[in-house]
Subunit: 141 residues, 3 copies
């Protein structure tokens, strides 16, 4: 006999710099354990539109490469190069977030995140220095 | 007692220009209400491969910035620069769609889209002027 | 009366070249049929962080265009241009994968992938020549 379960949880962040990359895998694993879901799906998404949730390697060099690469594809400066920046200066953050993505959906199998060897869930912040949220939603049984 | 529910719905579009960005949040909210799902997931995806569904801000300046930026990363011209363009002229639209993404998955909590303050669902069209579809699929209970 | 079902399946790949693009739609369709799920969601994701699962056209010219375009946005050479590449040479593959995406979520309706006319699921390999996996997870009823 199985019962449908769901769990909702928020994670809060305030990065000290404009941009930041935080491994949130342990928090998501904790939520999966709390949910009691054995087979299901785990959605993790940024609730703000200048931040990302993505899956990749927790390796310092790579994170530095990502940061440089995103800045090349969608530079912060000149701030005046974006129409969105009237009263704002974060247009580039909206672009960077589209490249890295809003959300990930991860399978839950036998009560755990069903991951390959190097998959880690990251919060990618592109307009930080203020409190922002990530949503975890788990459904399954 | 809870019962499993699902709902499937199509939205149709025909943008007047090659490219267009349409806020479809009200239509998705309507579908969630119709579904009767209280806890679940809502998938919204482009059914065509030269269009996107993405979540970001409904702000005119930003949409103009996105359009310019996508055109820089994946220019329409010269049309002959793409091998796909034999009989077609939309190769760039296939690139733009990969950057903006095919789909979003949104949590449903207490019968509503579980959104951060500025999250809006958009249909991004990169090869318009003909009828194209978006799929909404809701599952939960 | 309906019963909750789920299915988990792995696909294995070893591409002969560094980069490769493989249409895996038939394998996913087979998994959907095996699952017995009539209404639900099908998650397909790369289990490795230098590969993608994406949905687009199975057209030779387009695949060649994608390959050239990704190489322009995130070039492999010079290998020394990336900090990740100490003992590695695949930093560019981590970038390419972010553009093309980790996963797709596809609706299942009446026991089949609910697809638009040209949607095909692809495995995109950016650091091949070794055995790597894709996960299929189906939930529904």
């Amino acid at each position: 006999m199985s019962t449908r379960q769901s769990l909702r949880k928020e994670l809060w962040f305030k990065t000290p710099e404009r941009r930041g990359y935080i491994n949130i895998t342990p928090e998501v694993e904790k939520a999966v354990a709390e949910s009691g879901v054995m087979e299901g799906l785990c959605l993790v998404n940024a609730m703000h539109i200048t931040a990302s949730v993505y899956i990749n390697d927790d390796e310092k060099g790579l994170i530095s490469d990502y940061d440089k690469w995103l800045e090349k594809l969608a530079p912060h400066e000149p701030v005046s190069g974006y129409k969105h920046n009237s009263g704002e200066d974060n247009a580039d953050a909206h672009m960077k977030r589209q490249i890295m993505g809003r959300e990930v959906v991860v399978a839950i199998t036998e009560g755990r995140l069903d991951f390959g060897p190097w998959e880690r869930i990251f919060y990618g912040e592109f307009d930080g220095r203020r409190r922002k949220r990530v949503l975890i939603k788990i459904i399954g049984e």
